[in-house]
């Protein structure tokens, strides 16, 4: 029975992968492909957040700090050294790893809301400082290559290359997450989430687990930021480090189902088209209806499906389709 379920899940993932692979070939319009690119980007950031926020249960409200570093460094190496932005990606990862140790070491002594508040404050602090730092373009921000010098600048005129690059990154991230959650470390994370005291008594290295989870999560969030900056060709303090950037990751992961592999992806599949659609239909009128609907839907979901849409699936889908771990 268990093996049957596992193969069902594998088939489900394969089907999903196939849908993602052919999507831009079915929808040839640049706009729909762009929605696909943004959806993948949102799924990458939310999945990265999910490692520490979902699996390890440490709710960061400041992941924008990693996203922002990831976005800024590639454009900084381009602006100041003339390098292709791509070369900034590994540098950014090193920076966020250091940053996550600085943030994580002291705050992981604490439990509960302190970590949330600390991440929120550090992200705001960095946003304010970058806004006054001339080398980083201060308030005006940094631009990428306006006209590409070669393919290595990754400044494409078509959305298609972005789409498949982002899809590749997402697939890698999900594979890594899948491996991690099956490993001993994954068990540690779930134990920490369930209760730190109990975890400690079972011999789980609580602080180290939290720190590693944060570092892994930060590294992938940084990559998401880099992808954003290379694709958009621009970043300023608000679009890199803003509180909305941090909260967006949290919302998408929580909406889909935090602490599950597919949750952030479901969240992105729902939320990104929803955002685009409401803005496309109601944005031009300027009455703010976009956000009234957006806020309203978030409230309703939190009220009626606190576990995320994954729960909805597990409640209403035919029993044999449900994922194994949630079966009664």
């Amino acid at each position: 029975m268990k093996e049957a379920t596992t193969s069902k899940i594998a088939w489900g993932w394969l089907a999903l992968a196939a849908v993602f692979l052919v999507y831009p070939l079915v929808f040839q319009s640049a706009f729909f492909r762009d929605i696909g690119v943004l959806l993948l980007l949102a799924a990458i950031s939310a999945s990265a957040w999910n490692i520490v926020g979902g699996y390890a249960g440490q709710v960061s409200v400041g992941h924008g700090m990693f996203f922002g570093v990831g976005a800024y460094v590639p454009l900084m190496v381009f602006t100041h050294l003339g390098w292709p932005p791509l070369l900034g990606v590994p540098i950014a990862i090193v920076v966020v790893l250091v940053l996550s140790v600085i943030v994580g070491m002291p705050t992981f002594r604490l439990q509960g809301h302190y970590f949330s508040m600390a991440t929120l404050a550090v992200a705001e602090l960095i946003r304010l400082l970058v806004g006054t730092w001339d080398f980083a373009g201060a308030a005006i921000g940094l631009s990428g290559p306006a006209i590409p010098r070669g393919w290595w600048d990754l400044t494409f005129t078509s959305e298609l290359p972005y789409y498949y690059i982002f899809l590749g990154v997402l697939a890698t991230l999900l594979l890594v997450t899948w491996q991690v959650q099956r490993s001993r470390f994954g068990y540690y994370m779930r134990a920490v989430k369930a209760g730190e005291r109990a975890a400690k008594s079972l011999g789980v290295p609580v602080r180290r687990t939290k720190l590693f989870a944060l570092m892994l999560s930060a590294a992938f969030t940084s990559i998401a930021g880099s992808l954003y900056a290379i694709k958009t060709g621009f970043v300023d303090p608000e679009s890199g480090f803003g509180i909305l950037v941090s909260v967006q990751m949290l919302i998408i992961a929580a909406l889909g189902g935090a602490g599950t592999l597919i949750g952030p992806l479901i969240g992105a599949i729902i939320l990104i088209p929803l955002q685009t659609a409401t803005n496309t239909w109601f944005g031009g009128g300027g009455s703010g209806l976009t956000y009234i609907l957006y806020g309203g839907i978030i409230v309703l979901l939190a009220r009626f499906e606190p576990g995320g849409l994954v729960e909805l699936w597990n409640t209403y889908a035919p029993r044999r389709w449900r994922s194994g771990s949630h079966a009664p």
């Binding site: 706009f31 929605i35 679009s239 009128g285 009626f304 209403y316």
Partner: protein
């Protein structure tokens, strides 16, 4: 829950169907991008209303505005009387959304030209998309220097840019000194997003060149709930002219705080924006008498063209047209005139016509010296006025040779 998830599914499904609708064959479609939500929503909404007035001027017969090209007669005569159809989008002040919505306007809505985008950050990403697809983008009001000058061939900017404001202030100071006003030093107070920073840097640079001492340059966050530290600094430094580059709430707060801290500099000069916002005058007219403001827009005497345009705008929104929205209105009229001259909706022909644009001051509703683009797409004849708050409206006071109104110096303020 079943119900709300159904609604969600419906929204999702419908979003994939796309919103483009077949158009009447000869209408010219122009996309406009402004921040209609978010922190700059008030300015974005005003700009959108101004562009709608411009569309009305072009599409309908307005013989009373005969100086303005295309006002007389309905539609675009060069295209057989075709009308302009607007497609408005909200970029929310988010550069990524600006990029996405520009893409939608071009590929889904099939617009023939674009106008926008208020925040310079959004103008930067939106113009890059337009460049990629070869669609003309006319920048109405974004002032950061680097929007033009990136080698783009499809970006045109009608508005003066930050450096022009710096130069204008310095020539005003020179003129005022000649007229016997004492200006020993200036202070620059700027909000610290892209707008305030780029204008403040331009002013500081121009002041250095003109050898005018800057007693203080104070950046601050526009969301501050308390600005008394800045006012106390000013009180301490005693500059003769204080230039505020501020948004609305903070501009009002400065005027109120100056009163509560018993301070009036000889002159306050607002850099447009907050000082031009329709909420500014009603909130502070009793305490900011004589404050100056930058504007290329002057309502003018009853009966004048600009006065009539203002009446149209006022009927629509309930308040006077401000400079920022006026610059968008002018940008839109410039684009419409070029499309008409091109006699075609083909982007390349519109681009060629924009390059050949040569509008004279009397054909404009703004106080530019004309509209003529250089190789980078920047309007080289863009310029600005200075106006002064007298009673409950602004009056043109500079350039001195363009007006009979007297510059009141020092300002009365709240006294």
């Amino acid at each position: 829950m079943r119900k709300s998830s159904f609604v969600l599914a419906a929204l999702l499904g419908a979003s994939l169907v796309g919103a483009s609708v077949a158009q009447a064959a000869d209408a010219v479609k122009i996309g406009i991008l402004f921040p209609l939500t978010g922190n700059a929503a008030a300015a974005g909404q005003a700009a959108k209303a101004a562009v709608e007035v411009a569309t009305d001027i072009v599409n309908n017969d307005h013989p009373e505005l005969s100086d303005i090209p295309l006002a007389k007669g309905a539609g675009l005569p060069g295209l057989g009387g075709a009308k302009i159809e607007l497609v408005s989008v909200d970029h929310q002040g988010n550069p990524s959304v600006a990029q996405q919505q520009t893409l939608r306007l071009i590929t889904q809505e099939k617009v023939q030209a674009l106008v926008g985008a208020y925040q310079s950050s959004c103008a930067l990403t939106a113009t890059a998309v337009a460049e990629r697809y070869g669609i003309p983008f006319v920048v109405g009001d974004s002032v950061a220097g680097n929007i033009t000058g990136r080698g783009f061939k499809w970006t045109f900017r009608v508005t003066p840019l930050a450096a022009d404001f710096g130069d204008a202030y310095m020539s005003f100071i020179a003129d005022a000194r000649k007229a016997g006003k004492q200006i020993r030093s200036i202070a620059i107070i700027n909000e610290n997003t892209d707008y305030g920073t780029s204008v403040a840097e331009a002013i500081e640079g121009a002041a250095k060149k003109a050898n005018i001492p800057v007693a203080a340059r104070i950046p601050y966050s526009a969301s501050s709930t308390d600005v008394s530290a800045q006012v106390l600094q000013l009180k301490d430094k005693q500059p003769d002219l204080v230039i505020f580059i501020s948004y609305t709430a903070d501009a009002i707060l400065y005027m109120k705080t100056m009163k509560s801290l018993d301070y009036t500099p000889p002159m306050v000069l607002g850099d447009d924006s907050g000082f031009s916002d329709p909420s500014f005058i009603p909130a502070v007219k009793d305490i900011a008498q004589g404050a100056m403001n930058r504007s290329a827009w002057d309502i003018g005497k009853p009966g004048s063209t600009s006065y009539k345009i203002n009446e149209m705008y006022k009927a629509k929104t309930g308040h006077d047209l401000d400079d920022t929205s006026g610059r968008d209105l002018q940008a839109f009229l410039t684009l419409a005139e070029a499309i008409n001259r091109a006699g075609s909706t083909e982007p390349a022909k519109i681009q060629a016509a924009l390059k050949a644009t040569d509008l004279k001051p009397n054909q404009l509703m703004m106080g530019y010296r004309g509209v003529k683009f250089d190789g980078t797409g920047q309007n080289i004849l863009a310029s600005t006025y200075l106006i002064q708050l007298k009673g409950d409206s602004y009056e043109l006071v500079w350039p001195f040779d363009r007006t009979q109104n007297k510059l009141e110096w020092p300002m009365k303020g709240w006294r």
